[in-house]
Symmetry: D2
Subunit: 426 residues, 4 copies
């Protein structure tokens, strides 16, 4: 199914140096309107408020995931590994390239606010009346459905799904490297070449050669640190909270018949939960930012102030609670209400959480969420059985509850709080 280009084409990339495109279909997919749209969706959402360098888009990341996948398959082919199904190459590359296609603007927040899911949208775009759909169809009428099933993790060859989504997939490898590069932190600098060299197609899935254990440990630790240093940074969480509060308020206003001075069609469709693929594709971060900027002068002062906060980076401040104490949180909420603050918009309780690695428990079935090591005798072992490091971080939930609030309002109310509540905020 591969249709080689006459001449290999390259994109200059700061992370992989060059992205190599060797196939006509891949080249055409990149040049579709739907794929180019990813330039207007940032990879790390609002993280640029915390790390000003993190302004990179999902376009770059998608190319990176494609490139890592290409390198892995190229190594499999070079070494003629018997367990790699060669005929799946184009499908795998397409799925790798397109796996993030459905991300919306400020993805995590909008998904939470409107109960959407970017994977569903990826599949809708691939299967809908789009340029991407047409290009895939030209290769094979079954291809769009196949690509969608790989992304939905329902494709029947687990090894293909494995490359695109597993604890050690091309997606995670690229985002660690890329996010580290653009934020400037060095926690994400993993030896991706070494990890790639250690991967083996084996009995229908991707496993890791035993001698690659340390590289995998290092990768899991990098992931762990990136989560706590970057992805869950409280300033980023605060900006996501701003976003969610804006969406919530605007939808409330819309539902209550408020007349917006500025409104756009894709946003109406979003509020009405009737987004078509066509409207969704116009819903990029430029549009959201433009609406928010215009809303800074809407008559509803709650909305306009929230929009000002987001646009000018006047985020809610936060305190970290020592323990996850629901009684205390309820007390705080009560105190806010008594002091005349709004318990819905002036206080947000947040608990970030992540499992750096899902440990294997004896008796469990071998799942896609596990990393298996292949030893010299061709035996498989789940990595946390062998690595102290992995075992030690597997069960960790380090997240602590944070309270977010508008500083000025809180300061004005502090004198009305009881000492035990006041104490939390100073």
């Amino acid at each position: 199914m591969m249709r080689p280009l006459n001449e290999e084409k390259v994109f200059k990339d700061p992370v992989h140096n060059y992205i190599h495109v060797q196939d006509t279909t891949i080249w055409r997919l990149i040049n579709t309107a739907e794929f180019q749209r990813l330039r207007r969706i940032r990879q790390l959402g609002t993280s640029y408020f915390t790390f000003h360098g993190a302004e990179h888009s999902r376009f770059s990341h998608s190319l990176g995931v494609y490139e890592i996948t290409r390198q892995i398959i190229s190594l499999f082919e070079r070494n003629q590994y018997a367990d790699w199904p060669k005929e799946e190459k184009l499908l795998t590359l397409c799925a790798a390239l397109l796996h993030d296609l459905g991300h919306g603007p400020f993805s995590h927040s909008i998904e939470e606010a409107f109960d959407m899911n970017h994977e569903d949208w990826t599949c809708r775009i691939i299967l809908g009346d789009t340029e991407i759909h047409n290009i895939l169809c030209e290769v094979d009428p079954e291809l769009p459905a196949k690509v969608a099933s790989v992304i939905a993790k329902t494709y029947d060859k687990a090894i293909v799904v494995n490359l695109v989504s597993s604890p050690l997939d091309a997606d995670r490898m690229d985002y660690l490297l890329r996010d580290a590069y653009y934020t400037g932190v060095n926690y994400g600098t993993i030896d991706v070449d070494r990890i790639i060299r250690m991967l083996r197609p084996h009995d229908g899935r991707i496993v890791v050669k035993e001698s690659g254990m340390h590289a995998v440990e290092d990768y899991l630790m990098s992931r762990y640190q990136m989560y706590w240093q970057v992805y869950f940074h409280p300033v980023t969480r605060s900006s996501e909270i701003m976003l969610r509060l804006i969406f919530r308020r605007a939808k409330e206003l819309y539902n209550s018949g408020f007349q917006f001075e500025f409104m756009m069609k894709p946003i109406i469709s979003l509020f009405e939960e009737q987004l078509s693929v066509e409207q969704y594709l116009k819903l990029d971060e430029a549009l959201i930012q433009t609406a928010f900027m215009q809303w800074t002068t809407e008559r509803d002062s709650l909305l306009s102030q929230l929009c000002e906060r987001f646009m000018h980076r006047r985020l809610y401040k936060y305190v970290e609670l020592e323990s996850h104490n629901m009684d205390m949180i309820n007390d705080v909420r009560e105190a806010f209400i008594k002091a005349g603050l709004d318990p819905e918009y002036d206080l947000v309780v947040d608990l970030p959480s992540d499992l750096p690695y899902d440990i294997f428990r004896p008796g469990d079935e071998v799942s896609q969420k596990q990393i298996l090591l292949l030893d010299r005798q061709d035996r498989l072992q789940e990595i946390s059985e062998v690595s102290d490091i992995v075992r030690s971080i597997s069960g960790l939930h380090r997240g602590k509850v944070h309270l977010y609030y508008p500083e000025e309002k809180l300061n004005a109310a502090l004198s009305l709080f009881s000492p035990s509540i006041t104490h939390i905020f100073i």
Copy 2:
């Protein structure tokens, strides 16, 4: 005038590792709405169409220019150089931080299309009714005017102007490093620490110690290569041409009374050349992209097609002419007209040009545009008198004329061209 923060604050930066903020005024300036707006203006305009990593904003760059200036002044102070006027520190740092404040969306194109100038806007914002103006005034009511005069290069102490704008200023040093980092090309990797170590305040201006000549050569060569490899890349030029054609067409339509389905107030003010500071501050790249996206469905097919080209990266193709032959260009234009193409919108002639370094000519006055070397006997020499390398690139204009055009229309018209014209395009 400096008001030290209790505790030094830092921003993590991929280029300088950390940006150090030690003064309250600087901290407050960064947190203004006007400065935060720079997050929505890309440093390299449309270059991300050519180098997908180049998505960084003028916000990062402005912090970087501030940081380099801070490092230079810190070294001057540490070494107690007599010719450095210590009392100018805060003014210099403010001017460095704010020098790009007035950049509009896709700056070069919009300035060309509407005959605006970002330096004027920088001064209007600093002197207008803005948060920045107020913060500067609090320090000293004269400060806004002083900062503006440094940026306008009219401040009476040339040494301050020199640090902020000269052939070897903090601005150029940061953008070379930063643009190289984000594009991923390595042409811009200069040894900025070494250059900084070689700078000397001397007799009212900044000069370079003679032993730093090679570092300066390397810097000028980097600049030269970045111009031709990145800033003047024909794909980037093509995207800038798209932008200008869109602006031209939209303004034409507006002037002719066309009823836009989507229009926003700052754009109307732009067309009417009546932008207030307040409107200008809303005119960011998100707004422009949103307008263009909406215009992809306007009834004017020229406008809608141009917007589609820009949004989906379907740029005009180009050919490079071997020589700058006006007759040939006129012949091409004639042929386009005869073949029914639009000479205004279907053919754009472009000649990029840059002087990597303005050479000193005997008899010239010493200007701000020159780099002076200071030898051990405290004599000054203009660098191109000493360096073969600098002399050799000083007069270079390497730009070649390029013709840009819509590929499909041209292909359809090719058979109507005479062979000599056809020949140019294949």
Copy 3:
């Protein structure tokens, strides 16, 4: 006591970019014969056999330790921390610069073979009749003794000792960065600027601000990975074993009156355990390599073969045992003897071990081996009480027993082994 240079001097350094020398005494110490000798002692001993890039010397590392210490003190001074004893600056810098002065050729192996200790030699050189001693005396006749006591960890101000040797000292920070740079592995890339920013002089010792916990975790993990990936790499261990066997054999021969065709005075003194400082200073890696090269043609075939192995990198092969089973090891030794192999020279049992971090146990006194975190309420906590990551690696001993042997001899003997022994080696 500081005597500033007229002009700051710099060394170009790949790790820190520039090493800054601002004091005359430091400059003069670097230019002594004893300090220059460190150019002929590799930082990582025989690791270059495993990682060919690891050819860097203790000279570079010593400059790096000095530079990090200088940066820490500079930050302490800039922030005017009350708990930093300013008068200790020169002493601390000298101790940082000189702390590795006494390292001999292939330090770890020679120390093990001849029961020497490089810290003792550092002190002997500083206190002996050397250029370094004279320069320190010129500043203050007490200075040599003080510098020696800091290095011997007996100096009465623990905070000075802390900067030079503690679990988070300038020594460890430099070697992680430097060894990672020269080997090319990325396990050692720590954010040293951030760690430095988090250090606080506090109540007579150096502690870490609580918000720096993650940076410290990352640093400890880097150290852990470097130990197992680089410092304890079995190929490096094998080359160290070669070295020790050569030293053992040569000393045996010398003691037995063997007439060496090639012998040098410092080696005789080494064998006779009568090394003077003067002789020790001549005992560099060039001399050891020259002796070994000449000994490749000595009449004792055991010695000459071992030397050939070392010089031409024909190292012993190894197997890793699944468990530390003394009975099995004894069985192997028996089998070697029965098969006519030499149990002293043909079989080496090796168990590398390291404690990545010494955990605090309730009831223990606070020791120099602990990293203390300082929270906002000025309370101190030992890091493993707070960090799951640190706790999880604190007690880890991952080392496994390896057997090293000459492959050809083993292969020739394999048929004489019982199957259970044979099984270990294939």
Copy 4:
């Protein structure tokens, strides 16, 4: 002729990340005594006295040259370029790997002092009774002679010679990158991937695609800067001068029958110009340094002082002359003689020179020393005809005459000099 390894092997390399070995012959060549010897020969001779990081060996560089060559050939094969003679692959790789095999200790100085040539030695080792010779013979009895002829540039297929030695060969690309990495200067950071992508086998030689012109310009400028910033650094030149004076003095003494307290056989053979391959292979930098260290206590004070200078880095100081004035140099020499200084050992006149690129002159034959660009019409042009940059640096000889001398002796004599001579030295 290729004999693939069962499994590709890799070396971790800081410059190329991994060196890939896929062929048995290459693997065996690397493991010979002769190739391992390159670990004891520094790539940059005495440059570590100027840039302390520059302690890397010719071993690393040789692997790097091999790796770049492997990548070039791999690209040629992948793109199935018709003009690449596939059957020459192993020969080319062997020649790339072995091209520096004959380098002696502190190569440039020893070659100058004893009129030797490392290429001759490379060929003698390849053709002599060595492990390398035997391994090559096993593949093909003609192979040693072929490899030698490629290195001697007499092999009849110019394209093979081109890859190994030409102005744009793998050798130069690796040393620029590697020397920049280890010294820490950034002048040598070229985009080697891009250059490789632009190379084309064409009509019996390697040419460059026209669109690669800028990458080649950048490469030539890097080379130019590295020459003047690193390779010709006056401190390095001074250390090379020390070396040559030591060799000269020691040989004089030997010839005059002086009884050395310390002498080694390879040095005697060197002095008698009767070095066998066997002796030459023992003549590494460890041996030279050991001899020099021992000679610091020889009875001849000139020799012992020169050796002290070299071992303890007490190099001759230097002045740069404004012009190359032979009369002035003669006057200086006279003054030295009159003042009782030794015109042979106390004054060294040095003029470094390099041609960054040999320009093509109309009428010249196309030579191996030229870089040819291939345009879209398959026409070849010599690069300096097209590139202003290359033309401008082609003829440059920037070297200035330097005088080197022992500072203390000169200072003692200064009062005896006439003012015009004194003036030169202050």
